[in-house]
Amino acid sequence: MRPSYTLSDRTVGLLFIAPFVTAALFFMIYPVAEAIRMAFYSYNPLRPELSTFVGLANFEYIFRDPLFWDSFWQATVWTFLSIVFQTVFGVGIAMLLHQALAGMAIFRGLLLFPYIVPTVVIALIWRWIFNPEIGVVNHALQGAGLINEPIYWLSTPSMAMASTIMLNVWKYMPFVVICVLARLQTVPLELYDAAKVDGAGIVRRFLDVTLPQLKEVLIVVIVFRTIWTFNKFEEIYLLTKGGPGTSTFNLAVYSFEQSIANLRLGVGAATGVVMMVMLSLGSIIYLRVSGFGEDERAS
């Protein structure tokens, strides 16, 4: 007979997950549920007593708003280009860092730098770097004779978009590099030897050995980076405030503007709900199409 104060395994298990479940309820489930609820209400934080249920009116509003669609397309462009460059450069740099050379550990450590510095600091630094009059980029380009006139990095629409993409690529490429590097270190070296003996040159070895081994990690990295980039707010807001005009608005900035500047919290919440649905559907379709986890299911 066990002493009565002994808890059953089931109770102990529940106790162990209780802190997480509690935190998740307060900080994840509740805010999401509240945002979904708010999307169906007209809500002005200054006049909370006037809050009313409006059905789909908030959604009708945003789908009729040209700025919503501009933000959507700009978000798509910014996400797509950021992900492409992050992935390509990330894989390239990971392969360089994978070389067994003396002192490589230092470079691997330095890699984390953009990732640790707070976004606010980075955005401020980049605003100085991009400053058309005294910024180092223009200074360098002019010094090298590549341009005669200063480039207005943050104050012309296309250059502002390019600048935000550059910032995003610079800051989050280390994430791609770390994931890819970790995977590269587990690729069996005998596969490369076998490919060499079979007659594969360096390009074929990359295509037939390295890339297939990286496939799964790249699928995951791309899904995560896409979700995080599409939802990203602070980099754009801190660097360009969505400007010049609304040329670097994405949906997160749009939602923020509606909620905070226009005090239409319902519209902002509706935008958030639309983003959530789009990203969920997009991720599911992408994982299906890319065949993620196929091997596990097959065996």
Binding site: A194, K196, V197, G199, G201, R204
Partner: protein, 360 residues
């Protein structure tokens, strides 16, 4: 095509892993590099494959020095310990990969893949991926990938070590058969002396980056060149007894603290009064019925049954033991007083200092 190694040296940084290796792998022969782990055998194989640069010396295929040739230009094929199959490709694509990379016409490639798959009896697996195969099947695919290009030289790096014991025995015979059928020079690396003995035409026993002995399996077994080879080859391992050779009653004899043994004429090879090590295989010792007359006496310390044989460990003196292999039905039990009989023709003497075999 024969492969010649001339004074091959290999350093990894300051560590010298291969020292002045001189070997000739005769054309169409099955030669095994045998040695404990860390002896440099795999490094040597990888140098022949072109996967590892040569520090000094020359590797010749036929008369041609190929030190600087890339692996793809050596017309070799290699089977790896882990099989190294491309996981995302089907068996068919794995088999044909070397041909596809060399831009072989599709029809020719298909024919070659089908032919090899037929020989190895893996035709029904062609559309599967390596992840869906058993260890033995993967092994065959790896072998097939090597065979498909009809290379001059086969290099095999412990290809059987990931298989279970039973399959290993079957594959041993098959590998030997394929070698005879294909007629390519085969260089095989293993640490398993049984594989080396059963499959090879020649064995190079390696230790500490040096070839200790190069000869036929019979040679390395019955005429070991030194103490290392004597101890490494043969199972259970050879018994060693330290002592000295001295003349006794006008005849050379081996004297140790436990026993004195008269030697056959000339077998001491002029080792008079020198420190020597006597080596004798457990199979070459007998248990003598009446211990009083035997030159060597002791007490049975432990008996191990192997099936058809048993191993009897006989305690001689101060913790010195001899292993004797006898038929399983021999009546012997622990703590029996027994005599051990030697066949003077079947003992080996080694110089105690250098370890080199003493021969007349």
């Amino acid at each position: 095509m024969d492969v010649k190694l001339e004074r091959i040296n290999k350093n990894f940084g300051a560590v010298q892993v291969l020292k002045d290796i001189d070997l000739v792998f005769p054309s169409r022969k099955f030669v095994t590099l045998l040695g404990p782990s860390g002896c440099g055998k795999t490094t040597l194989l990888r140098m022949i494959a072109g996967l590892e640069p040569v520090t000094a010396g020359a590797i010749r295929f036929g008369d041609r020095v190929i030190n600087e040739l890339a692996p793809r230009d050596r017309n070799i094929a290699m089977v790896f310990q882990s099989y190294a199959l491309y996981p995302q490709m089907t068996v068919r694509r794995n088999l044909g990969y070397g041909l596809r990379v060399r831009k072989t016409p599709q029809a020719e490639m298909d024919a070659a893949v089908e032919r090899v798959a037929g020989i190895l009896e893996i035709s029904h697996l062609l559309d599967r991926k390596p992840g869906q195969l058993s260890g033995g099947q993967r092994q065959r695919v790896a072998l097939g990938r090597a065979m498909v290009r009809q290379p001059d030289i086969f290099l095999m790096d412990e290809p059987l070590s990931n298989l279970d014991a039973k399959l290993r025995v079957t594959m041993r015979a098959e590998l030997r058969r394929f070698h005879l059928d294909l007629g390519a020079t085969t260089i095989y690396v293993t640490h398993d002396q049984l594989e080396a003995m059963t499959m090879s035409d020649m064995i190079a026993v390696m230790h500490g980056g040096i070839v200790q002995q190069f000869g036929s399996p019979g040679d390395v077994y019955s005429r070991p060149a030194n103490l290392f080879v004597a101890g490494f080859i043969g199972s259970p391992p050879m018994n060693f007894v330290t002592g000295a050779v001295a003349a006794s009653n006008g005849q050379a004899a081996f004297k140790s603290p436990d026993f004195t043994l008269e030697l056959a004429n000339g077998s001491a090879g002029g080792a008079q009064a020198r420190e020597v090590v006597l080596g004798v295989r457990p199979q070459d010792l007998t248990l003598v019925q009446n211990p009083e007359t035997a030159p060597v006496r002791g007490r049975v310390w432990v008996v191990e049954l192997l099936g058809s044989e048993k191993l009897v460990e006989v305690m001689l003196g101060d913790r010195r033991r001899l292993t004797v292999q006898v038929r399983a039905e021999t009546p012997v039990s622990v703590d029996d007083e027994v005599g051990v009989g030697f066949d003077p023709q079947r003992i080996h003497l080694f110089d105690a200092k250098s370890g080199i075999a003493l021969r007349s």
